[in-house]
């Protein structure tokens, strides 16, 4: 049992790893402890036990902290990394991405607004077909944009200010035709035929007759004046009755 006065001091000495026997003489507390050890055997024993305790603690901590790392850990993590989503880039952080999206949407709005009005005007003023057709003059010369459309792969599409091809194709005033690949050749032949035979083209693109669902104008009924004629003579009627009696 250590002396009560030196109990804390020897515990601190053991905890700090200091040995009073080798402590510097300038350290007053250690010097006092060393002097006490020379005269107190129980404190020497207690100090040795404390030292052994701390050595055991350090050894146990070392064993706990430096446990063998399983060999499968890193391969397992690498396999999991392949399945996990890749880290986003700094410039793709949500805040920046959101602000950039808003700015881009505003920019697209600014660009699209005047473009749409101009293209609408053009659609009203110019014939909406880009094929080299020669529409006949006259009342049936106007070509309906819904009846014939030209192929879509024109250079204007790539020079268009808007990048979205889908939106552009929907909103563009230039007529377009979406042709499946297997029908492309047939369509080219059809266009060539139209170019060669202008009469056929004119007939084809001629304005459709009036729609059936237009209001039907009904002429008022022509009813002639009613002519009132007098009934037949009473004599004839009386002779008929006499004949029946007989």
């Amino acid at each position: 049992m250590p002396c009560e006065n030196y109990k804390d001091a020897l515990t601190e000495a053991a905890a700090s790893g200091a040995d009073p026997a080798n402590a510097l003489r300038s350290n007053a507390k250690m010097a006092a402890l060393r002097a006490h050890f020379e005269s107190c055997a129980s404190c020497r024993t207690a100090f040795a036990e404390e030292q052994a305790l701390f050595i055991s603690i350090d050894a146990g901590l070392h064993a706990t902290a430096n446990a063998e790392v399983p060999a499968c850990l890193l391969p397992r993590v690498r396999a999991a990394l392949d399945e996990v989503e890749a880290p986003r880039l700094p410039w793709m952080s949500p805040l920046i991405f959101a602000s950039a999206s808003v700015a881009l949407a505003f920019l697209v709005f600014l660009i699209a607004r005047p473009h749409r009005s101009v293209s609408d005007d053009q659609a009203k003023q110019t014939p909406p077909i880009s094929m080299p057709l020669k529409p006949p003059t006259g009342s049936h010369g106007e070509i309906s944009p819904s009846s014939v459309q030209s192929p879509s792969t024109t250079a204007n599409h790539f020079r268009a200010p808007r990048k979205s091809t889908l939106v552009h194709s929907a909103a563009s005033s230039n007529p377009e035709v979406l042709v499946p690949p297997d029908e492309r050749e047939a369509f080219a032949r059809f266009v060539a035929e139209l170019n060669a035979r202008s009469d056929f083209a004119a007939a084809f693109v001629a304005q459709a007759p009036e729609k059936k669902d237009a209001l039907v104008v009904v002429d008022p009924l022509q009813i002639s004046d009613i002519e009132l004629k007098p009934l037949e003579s009473k004599e004839t009627e009386s002779s008929d009755r006499a004949g029946e009696k007989h």
Partner: protein
Amino acid sequence: MQELALIQPGGMARDEFLREAAQAEARREFEELLAECGPLAYRVARGVLRNSADAEDVAQEALLRAYRRFDRLRDRNRFRAWLVRIAFRLALDRLRSSKRREQRDTFWSHPAHQPPAATVEDLAVSNEFQAHLDRALGELPEKLRLVLLLAAMEDHTIDEIAAIVGVSAGTVKSRIFYARKQLAEKLRCHAKTIKTR
């Protein structure tokens, strides 16, 4: 429609290419750090959980979480400290949840006054002290526990621990001293018991 779908502006393709290149670079950089710091994450988790399987799960989770948030780490030299903190936090969370589960199971399966059955480790004297030490380590305050674990790991100087934990070197020394002292107070009686056998 098919023709239109094939048309892509060149800028988008270039951005995509740059993005993939940057991702590949980040992955390569992370792989290098993984080989260096992966074992550290495991050991920190193992020191807290005292269970190899749980520690492996936690280390993997910590590394995956670090990978997902790798872009947020501006100074890559801080990766080690960052990973240690992630692993330590996850291990503590796992420990707490397992303790709650254990208490719940104990409540239903054992009467409260009966102590839990001795484990196989407790039967061996050499492992008994280690078991008491692990238990005492788990009862230490978190900030003392992390510093003590890092100090017990190989190749960690006081300055490195201070950099990892984000405190001064004097604070690290002080925490190590008090942590060991608290462990000694908890283990003194067990050490004497084992010694007298």
